[in-house]
Amino acid sequence: MARMKFLCDAERCIECNGCVTACKNEHEVPWGVNRRRVVTLDDGVPGERSISVACMHCTDAPCAAVCPVDCFYTTDDGIVLHDKDLCIGCGYCFYACPFGAPQYPQKEAFGVRGKMDKCTFCAGGPEDDGSAAEFEKYGRNRIAEGKLPICAEMCSTKALLAGDGDMVADIYRERILKRSTRPQTWGWGVAYKADS
């Protein structure tokens, strides 16, 4: 069974933020919500590396486990989606998520956060595929159109890979062999350890 995965190749990521704005553009994500972000470690010193991170669509998704209203669901190929109609904006998924993926459109007194928003692997939500309602709440459903996540498809250096985990791993393995470096499948251990 194919399993959708993200992989950010730190040797290629240059923190150009193309993935970030591509996502904003494709899904009309509002100001203040960033489904994807790029983080640079050891900024400005030798060893500096940047990583693009979003929801990793974990196998045993912590967000799904802690959601009080059980609004998450997982597709057959491992994409973790959620139903905004159920979400109450409690913030628990944000507490639980190792990658800081859940985002809230608001952050106000008395716990007002609005409906949680996160990366959908460009697979929309429970509404009809490609419907206005789905776009309004979750953004485009590229997967239903036979396309892969826009962040990876528009990655300036093809650092960010998204797709069938086996194909992603094949490409990455080739690069590792070519570079003769050690693999650093960043985040995979946390997100997909059980099935990788």
Binding site: C16, N25, G44, D85, G114, A132
Partner: protein, 969 residues
């Protein structure tokens, strides 16, 4: 059983008053809604609330119209990334990755991935505006053109045509760029320029004078083949992110990557070796590397003998740069320099990449020539994987440079001599004497002391004198008119796609903007120009369409020319630049001459016809074979091109190189495939091969300048040869190869002026390059420093080096203006201003940043202007990360910015990004923007604090090495 109330998607909910303003030509509901909603999100940058900017109903109404796919090219840098737009009912609803483009293969950086915002333009300048009593007032196009035209004609009458400055743009398409230069010529002035002056003018001058053409020799894609990559003053990861795709592929193929920069940049993070250089000491580093190369005999002796002139003089200079001296001047340890030299020597072919870190210096031309010499010594030029990969900045700065929006050239780098003007009078179909009469013929430069060198020749007619460059327009306004080589000061400025925050000396610029009689901004955005001066009257803002709202061709940095579709109609009241040019020319009385060879539809000159005229005149750089038809064919068949060689493999473009990179010799019918690598002798000229250009005569000081034993594959002349002329064809016995018509046209002409293209065709048929076959020259005897030498920046903190490496003497006239060097360097500012100030790019913004700072998707990522300060300097100044500081430049101009305390910059160096504007002297000028047109993010313009300093050949401004001090605000 959904809980959230579905939002009413009916169109009736839109604000009706706006409908009338926008007209009903296309359905802009989406824009309207976003425009209205964006008000809340556009508050003060730092305080932008996480307002739910509601999603456009891009997917609404599936039945409303078919989605059309149109293709364009990103407008934000020179890589030339393909943009695929999905357009529905005239609304740009979606952006798709352009997997077919061999340049980006679908990839985009932050800017490219968000260009769809331009199709909505919430913060755009929406209507022509006029400043009345200090307030912006909306006027019609007709009123604007009439008022501006009258004023300009009045100035012409009083002060002559040279008092009106036409500042063009690298954002123009090729056709608009060409038309703009033609426009200025027909108006009668050389006071025309654009961004290339302040980005790569020193490259163009330095490189063209070394081997013929001042352009990137190879391509981004060709870097897959490199074995070594040397970046100096280039931060590709932020300035050319998609280029990194090719660079990192090269690295994965085994190339060694060296980065030289004062900052540890995102590019440096991927390098095998990083050298932190003291700003402004490029020449010593290169000579320091050559020291080891010569010492160890690593140079390519055969190559130098056959193809390089003057290397012996370089050797003499290099010998002075011992490792100790290099370390003393550059701050880089000797072992590091040696390692870099060894890496470059042992890994050939290697390429060199430089950008503004190398060019923006008073000795920028020395730097660029030194880089070339390094590559020549290693035999790296003219081979795949080698070359000088000079990454240009704007999307069409290469094209705009090629098409001559420069005060010292005509299109195609034809100079300002009478012959060049005659050539273009011929191409344009106008009478030369009429053309000459358009200039300020009454003004003759009779003053003594006019100096030689580019831009300083004595002249009889201002037609032949290089105009004031963009870097110096301020002085054109403020300098005593007796010191300027033209009748009067500048009285009117057209900022036609140019933001002034990209130029130095903020306080003087503000004063100049307030002194001018007329300021006209033609731009999709109001820009920093609209808000900087405290004016009451005499200022107009004209909304120009973006390149996504018109069509035409654009030249990428690798000289590939790509065709852009028109994606959507111009938004709001905006018009394409060439339409505005036509309107204005009509008012000024030369529209017929301007568009003599062009069909004009509803005041819009036909873009294809402009390109055909370009094809008819641009023989020098071979921009003659790229007809609109061929470019459109390439656009439709992008996927057939190889992503490393850029060669079409099969399909309708079989055998062509992508975008027909110039020179694409001869007429379109000749079907030349374009030249992917300049000076590559391993291919025949007909297949895109070349040799160095014979541009500087056949001999110098009795020594042969022509190539010796080196020639491109298949050449019938198996040695060097001069450039082709009609006479030369006759001597060679090749005259008969011309057709009768060609003979008639070619008689008395040369390869540059023969409009039939016959001379080029025949030369190439015999395997020869039309421009001759010569050596590259390591020394440029026409420049102030024939051998590139080191000179300390005007404002240097290393006073101990000033005596040994002094700057130039002051010059009385350079590009019509007195230019100071020594008198500035003599003042010691290093005690009061102890820190070195440098500048550069951020990946999210481009240039003056107006359009990118007005793009919410980008603006959100960089909300504050900042200065990078080393922790040591911050601690010494008592500054903490994130706090407000005053940064004061060595001439006293100060900017209020946030401190970013970081190890990126070395000790003693402060860095600022130059994309911000809309603030001055610590104050946000938001109230001075026309309503709804202020960018989301505003900040102090870094260049406000930068100081005087101009390149000795091109007047490039010095923005990479000056002095400053910082204090807590």
């Amino acid at each position: 059983m959904k809980l959230t109330k579905k939002r009413d998607l009916s169109p009736d909910g839109t604000a009706s008053p706006l409908k009338g303003i926008l007209g009903s030509a296309i359905d802009r509901r989406t824009f309207l809604r976003r425009t209205g909603l964006a008000v809340g999100g556009g508050a003060v940058a730092g305080a932008i609330q996480p307002v739910m900017m509601r999603r456009a109903e891009a997917v609404e109404a599936k039945a409303a119209g078919d989605v059309e796919v149109r293709k364009s090219v990103c407008t934000h840098c020179s890589v030339g990334c393909g943009v695929v737009a999905e357009v529905q009912n005239g609304v740009w609803v979606r952006q798709a990755p352009d997997f077919d483009s061999p340049l980006n293969m679908g990839g985009h950086c932050a800017k490219g991935a968000s260009v769809r915002e331009h199709g909505h333009g919430e913060r755009r300048l929406k209507h022509p505006m006029k400043l009345t009593g200090g307030k912006w007032k909306q006027i019609t196009w007709d009123e604007a053109i009439a008022e501006i035209g009258d004023k300009v004609l009045n100035i012409r009458e009083r002060s002559g045509p040279d008092s009106v400055y036409w500042l063009g743009s690298a954002k123009f398409s090729n056709e608009q760029a060409y038309l703009f230069r033609k426009f200025a010529g027909l108006w009668g002035t050389n006071n025309v320029d654009h961004q290339a002056r302040i980005c790569h003018s020193t490259t163009v001058a330095g490189v063209a004078n070394t081997w013929g053409y001042g352009a990137m020799t190879n391509s981004y894609n060709d870097m897959h083949n490199s074995k070594a990559m040397f970046f100096i003053g280039s931060n590709a990861a932020e300035a050319h992110p998609v280029a990194m795709q090719h660079i990192l592929r090269g690295k994965e193929n085994g190339a060694k990557m060296i980065v030289v920069d004062p900052r540890f940049t995102r590019t440096a993070a991927h390098a095998d070796q990083f050298m932190r250089i003291r700003p402004g000491s490029d020449v010593p580093l290169i000579w320091g590397m050559l020291y080891h190369i010569f010492e160890n005999g690593w140079e390519d002796k055969e190559y130098i003998k056959q193809r390089v002139f003057g290397m012996d003089k370089i050797r003499a200079e290099v010998a002075k740069w011992t490792p100790e001296e290099v370390e003393k001047v550059t701050g880089i340890p000797g072992s590091e320099v040696k390692l870099a030299a060894q890496t470059m020597a042992e890994n050939r072919p290697g390429t060199i990449v430089w950008c503004m870190g190398g060019t923006q210096h008073t000795i920028g031309n020395n730097n660029t020539r030194a880089y070339c010499v390094l590559q020549l010594a290693l035999g790296n030029v003219g081979v795949s994987g080698g070359g000088a990969n000079i990454f240009r900045g704007h999307d069409n700065v290469q094209g705009a440079t090629d098409l001559g929006i420069l005060s010292h050239t005509l299109p195609g780098y034809y100079g300002l001599a009478e012959g060049s003007w005659k050539h273009f009078a011929n191409v344009w179909g106008v009478d030369f004497d009429w053309l000459k009469g358009r200039f300020d013929t009454g003004y003759i430069d009779t003053r003594e002391g006019s100096e030689e060198g580019i831009g300083g020749l004595p002249f009889d007619n201002p037609m032949n004198s290089a105009g004031i460059p963009v870097s110096r327009w301020i002085d054109g306004v403020l300098e005593d008119s007796r010191n300027i080589d033209q009748r009067d000061n500048l009285k009117a400025m057209f900022f036609w796609g140019h933001a002034p925050n990209s130029q130095t000396r903020g306080p003087e610029m503000k004063k100049a903007l307030e002194t001018l009689e007329l300021v006209v901004v033609v731009d999709p955005y109001p820009t920093h120009t609209a808000v900087l001066p405290d004016r009451q009257e005499g200022m107009y803002l004209l909304p120009a369409a973006t390149q996504f709202e018109t069509y035409g061709s654009v030249t990428a940095s690798n000289r590939s020319i790509q065709w852009r579709d028109k994606l959507i109609d111009p938004l709001f009241d905006s018009l394409p630049d060439h339409t505005i040019m036509y309107k204005l020319a009509k008012k000024l009385g030369f529209a017929d001459e301007l568009c003599k060879n062009m069909q004009v539809n509803n005041e819009e000159p036909l873009v294809e016809d402009i390109l055909r005229e370009i094809n008819r005149g641009m023989w020098t750089i071979g921009m003659t074979g790229q007809s609109p038809e061929r470019l459109k064919l390439h656009l439709a068949n992008k996927h057939t091109f190889n992503t490393t060689t850029l060669l079409a493999e099969g399909g309708p473009c079989d055998g062509d190189y992508y975008g027909l990179p110039w020179p694409c010799w001869g007429t379109p019918e000749m079907n030349h495939p374009g030249t992917p690598l300049l000076y590559d002798t391993s291919k025949s000229v007909a297949d895109g091969g070349l040799n160095f250009r014979a541009r500087f005569g056949v001999e110098y000081e009795g020594k042969n300048l022509l190539a010796e034993g080196s020639y491109s594959k298949g050449a019938e002349i198996k040695d060097g040869y001069p450039e082709f002329t009609a006479d030369m064809l006759k001597q060679l016995g090749w005259w008969k190869d011309l057709t009768a018509e060609e003979q008639a046209a070619a008689e008395g002409k040369n390869w540059k002026t023969d409009l039939s293209g016959g001379i080029q065709r025949v030369a190439i048929a015999h395997g020869c390059a039309p421009y001759g076959n010569a050596k590259a020259r390591a020394i440029v005897w026409t420049f102030p420093d024939p051998v590139p030498v080191h000179r300390e920046p005007l404002y240097t903190s290393r006073r101990d080096l000033v005596e040994k490496y002094p700057t130039y003497e002051d010059r009385k006239s350079h590009y019509r203006l007195p230019t100071r060097y020594k008198s500035i360097q003599d003042q010691d500012k290093s005690v009061e201003y102890p820190l070195i100030l440098t500048s550069g790019r951020l990946v999210e913004y481009e240039g003056g940043g107006e359009e990118t700072r007005s793009n919410a998707w980008l603006a959100e990522l960089q909300q504050e202007m900042f200065a990078e300060i080393n922790p040591v300097d911050a601690n010494n100044a008592g500054i903490k990360d994130g706090q407000w500081i005053w940064l004061e430049g060595a001439e006293g101009a100060r900017v209020k910015v946030h401190a970013m305390v970081t190890e990126r910059v070395g000790r003693g160096v402060v860095f600022m990004p130059f994309h911000f504007g809309g603030w001055y002297d610590g104050k946000d000028l938001i109230d001075k923007y026309p309503e709804g047109a202020a960018p989301y993010v505003r900040g102090e313009a870094a260049n406000t604090a930068f100081t005087y300093g101009y390149d000795s050949v091109t007047q490039m401004q010095e923005t990479k090495a000056t002095l400053c001090k910082i204090s807590a605000a």
